[in-house]
Amino acid sequence: MKQIPCPHCGNRAQAEFVYERSADSVVPLDAEPAVAIAALFSRANLRGTEEELWRHAHGCGMWLLIRRDRVSHHIEWVKPIGPEALP
């Protein structure tokens, strides 16, 4: 099974993690309606590398930002969540 290096817990089985959404779909609090709708209801959905929000649901429960290749599944990096998750 694939492992995801949780910044809080170390390498853990991928089954412990839940994908939440891609980072480009995070809506800034002061977004105009058109921007918010675009962010909520459309995705770049690249056949390549994207940044995504995941949650270590069956572990420490923390939200994470993961940069990952969607074809090879190679994980470039995992960061604890923070202001850098916002666009």
């Binding site: 099974m1 089954a15 994908y19 891609s22 709708i37 995705r43 959905n45």
Partner: protein, 418 residues
Amino acid sequence: MSKYSALQLLRGAFNGQSHWQPAWRHPDPKPSYDVVIIGGGGHGLATAYYLAKVHGITNVAVLEKGYIGSGNVGRNTTIVRSNYRLEPLGRFYEFSLKLWEGLSDDLNYNVMFSPRGALTLGHSDADMIRLAEKGDAMAVQGIEAELLTREQVMKIEPCLDFSRQARFPIEGAMIQWRGGTARHDAVAWGFARGADSHGVDIIQQCEVTGMVMDGNRVIAVETTRGRINAGTVAICAAGHSGHIAAMAGLKLPVESQTLQAMVTEGVKPMVNTVVMTQSLHCYISQSDKGGIVFGGDPDNWPSYAQRGQPVTMELAIQQGLALIPALSRLRMLRTWAGVTDMSFDGSPIIGPTPRDGLWIDGGWCYGGFKATPGSGYLFADTLANQRPHLIVEPFGLDRFERGTPVDENGTGPFPNHR
């Protein structure tokens, strides 16, 4: 194209079956077509077939990156049904099911449609109430459904675990008798042969790499076999819809995820219908060769990999074994996966895009196979008349911003919550 018939087969018996011809041509792309369809899967080929047959539009090219039928039309669990609660979905899938019923005759190609019944099990009172509700919703739309007691299910599917200690006790079921399975490859081949016989060019090994714009209008596609001008461009690329739409600068309300399926060694008939359940997400049927075909949840995170995760496979198998314990004795022969374009409400997207001359038929989630003839027929009508057909009107690309999603499961606007 010669018509397939028993007589032709008999005649062939006397000349060593030497009369067989290729079922479709392998033409080089022309510089220009009225309609260019991106994607030589079930939906693309069906669209081309109905464009040519019903609307007389024959200057059509179907562009396929690999070989026809190498994508999701050859990677599904072949289930056909129209048991939906919401009216727009019921109307659409019932239209498609009616086409399935006459498809082999229409195509003169045996798609082996087998209406053996689509059975949805209920494991609790709550499940049975939901199933009764759904059956009523179907009946209101004129689609037959029958609510079954536990004893009736025992007669139909004796191999299920009916013990009271079962992990998922069986309280009853709902069945749509007209549902069933079909031979998936034959669907691709039948539509390809039909489209080709009407003059459609099916161009394989031809990957679309870009779109040529004139202002807001798509006028041509760039491919690995050169530029092809097009009056209308239609995206039928399933899991790669988003990748193709990005070439025209569009973002779609879809996320691509992997959906896997698997098949066991062949055994004598033991699963008579298509077994699904109201509480779990696992569907089991038996192929004509005898293999038990399994499917489950998608891997709930984005991927273009066409290979599944063992975790998800294990979940589907656990559910299958809990329902039919005898399956534990079988060996798994093959597993495979396809890339599905999961939409935000679980319903398809059919209609115009914000770019002139660019239309889309996608967002099929994991329900695209049963839609194949209906999708092809209605999308062809949509393209020929340059407006959405009445039945596909609720499935417009802009329905999310208008606040009118068609959300059968009521799980909200997240592709990974389907």
